[in-house]
Symmetry: C2
Subunit: 412 residues, 2 copies
């Protein structure tokens, strides 16, 4: 049920056996997914120590506690590289209004839109913000997401942006999940600055960034028609880079504004959305090595055409997929649903969808220690109650995740 926190069951040394199909994402084992049949995995102190045929388990791992996968699939834990999962307030009615044909203006007048989340998040105490957000992140973890990027950006003032980081830290500690915090002061212009955008850009790239710089892994900017121009985005990104912070950007979601090209220019770690990016943009991203993070849940929710994952993949860009969990345009928590949509709606193959949700997600966060099942990697794993990973795409509401293993601990 929603809202329950999985409790970690501490296991130090574990040998996983009876694996029906192991997705390693280790290309040296063949194919994109490096699939092994009849494999076993030895885990020790939260890391993977050994991967190989179950018949060949070395002597030193045979005394480990055994965890049987019951013939199911084992794959790397999902990495959700784009979420806004910490927020306060309820926007379900705004969603219903939009389905019934309400315009953007009517929704604003009714008190909806992103500023309603900003208002609710500002008004919430830290405890309230944690209470509202923790069940979402607990659900993500329970559904197999073992690393979760979480953005600020519903504060748009220093105190609330810092409060959001406090909430992210608190939730990380309670759930023992890896959260990767991203500063998104550049989400939209704060309501107080609508007549003075330049001052808000200065604040984001100045005092606000100083207040969070030691606590975040990334700086993100929503570069699009309704948010920041390419020029404004460049200013904020340069402020980040001057502080040795890596950049990731929301680009080309609503229209082609040149955001993807800017991401390439900046050498951003990731460029997200890309719905309206051109073939030239994709070539530029591929050349720089910026990871494309595709967000099919937004297209579903907003009744827009899904991002063309096939085109992005074929352009040679590294592809990740993510939930974009947020209260306005994608109240979606689980990566299996995103994996299904990436295949069904975005044109990726089932193999590519699974890769993009694991290895792709890790690369989009610059993490090379996970997303692969190999010795030395973090023991973040998912066990499916299904005979093949193709069931993730085949059964969009399948609830196939039987076990989640986070740094060697089996969650239940």
């Amino acid at each position: 049920m929603n809202g329950e926190s999985p409790s970690p069951c501490k296991m130090t040394d574990v040998l996983i056996t009876d694996i029906g199909q192991l997705v390693t994402n280790d290309e040296s084992r063949g194919g994109l997914l490096g699939i092994m049949d009849g494999a076993a995995i030895a885990i020790d102190s939260g890391d993977i120590r050994w991967v190989g045929p179950e018949d060949d388990v070395p002597h030193e791992y045979r005394s480990y506690d055994t965890l049987r996968a019951d013939g199911g699939v084992v794959l790397p834990g999902f990495v959700d590289a784009h979420t806004h999962a910490v927020f306060a307030g309820d926007r379900s009615h705004e969603f219903a209004m939009r389905l019934e044909g309400a315009t953007y203006e009517q929704i604003q007048v009714a008190g909806g839109g992103i500023y309603s989340t900003v208002r609710a998040t500002r008004e919430a105490s830290l405890d309230e913000l944690v209470d509202e957000s923790l069940p979402r992140i607990a659900r993500m973890l329970a559904s197999g997401t073992t690393t979760i990027e979480v953005k600020t950006g519903y504060g748009l003032d220093i105190a609330t942006e810092v409060k959001m980081l406090d909430a992210i830290d608190r939730i990380r500690d309670v759930l023992a999940v890896d959260t990767i915090p991203t500063f998104l002061g550049g989400h939209v212009v704060a309501p107080e600055f609508l007549d003075d955008r330049g001052s808000y850009v200065d604040l984001v790239g100045g005092a606000m960034m100083d207040a969070v710089a030691g606590r975040v892994a990334y700086v993100d900017v929503f570069c699009d028609d309704a948010a920041f121009t390419v020029g404004e985005t460049r200013l904020i990104a340069h402020a980040a880079q001057a502080r040795s912070l890596d950049v990731r950007l929301h680009v080309d979601q609503l229209s082609h504004t040149g955001g993807a090209a800017l991401a390439a220019e900046l050498g951003a770690v990731a460029a997200d959305h890309l719905d309206h990016s051109t073939d030239e943009d994709l070539v530029a991203l591929a050349e720089v090595g910026t990871v494309a993070v595709l967000l099919p849940g937004v297209s579903y929710t907003m009744r827009e055409p899904a991002p063309d994952g096939r085109r992005v993949w074929d352009a040679g860009v590294t592809v990740a997929i993510a939930t974009d969990c947020n209260p306005g345009t994608s109240y979606i928590e689980t990566m299996p649903f995103i994996i299904s949509m990436a295949a069904v709606n975005c044109g990726l193959t089932p193999d590519e969808s699974v890769w993009a949700a694991t290895r792709g997600g890790a690369l989009a966060l610059g993490l090379h220690d996970r997303g692969v099942v190999a010795p030395g990697k973090v023991a973040d794993l998912v066990v499916l109650d299904a005979p093949t990973h193709e069931h993730l795409t085949y059964r969009p509401d399948g609830d196939l995740v039987a076990l989640v293993i986070k740094r060697g601990n089996v969650l239940s």
Copy 2:
């Protein structure tokens, strides 16, 4: 987790309190959904006895065991009026092949397609068929579906069609869920009769129907290009009506063959799919009172445009929505996901989607004793961990069902 059977916790007399929002589907209470705030429900011997403001609970119900809804939504249990949830075999790889561009012919050559399910279902023992199918129906029940239509149609010979009915009965008894069995010998022409369709139609409308007639609620025929012509469908339907069996039909899914018009001509209880039906067809269905059962999961899975629920509703046709759970074109088990797609993809409002999944589903099965929260109705209810029913459409992978109540028993 998938595959666990909910166990009923026997409660005879129950008073449900602390309901945040009650969806009654009782038009006398106002609006399509007859929503009440601050209501309570008294249940006795599996039936609803009283519904009213919590402050006004009559004395005789105050001693009942209290079940608190914790401020969540209470609504009628979902009624899934179109499923093929009993089958054997695995077709995930066929799905993956199709995503990767395989043609119908390539899938057939690879051993896929509906005949592969027929082969697996024929080969399975009754125990095996139950073992494979029960987890699906358990999952449906756990996700709030309290009445489930289940079709035969993967036997296409007398022995296997009867075995499918045996499996449906066994699962009904184990899970204490209401299954409504439908005879679908007219699913496709049995492989042995591909060169002699007429004899197969005679068999379905003759000896095969005689073998099942006492055990089924409905006779269904797949009237479409890949299955049975309007003429063949009419023969089978007349054979059903001659045995006093009501008819429901698969119509106009793949193309406009006149199936919807035939459903109206026959006075069918339901006409399902309707993707290619004309406005004239819809007028005819509305006049006769045939319920339209829309199946957005098929469109999702097959990457086809979703059925235009808005057009069907506005034509005055009674609308139900259902999973069409089957291994080929919609491996979907949960009504909340269907409710989301009905609103997002089919143009129904959130209110209409919820109504179509409850009251609409009941009417599509000719059941007037459920789908409404009112005295005298069956106490099939769902409690959501959400403040409004709009969350069902707002959060497509939300897992919002906190409690399922089947005939007054709280499942857990």
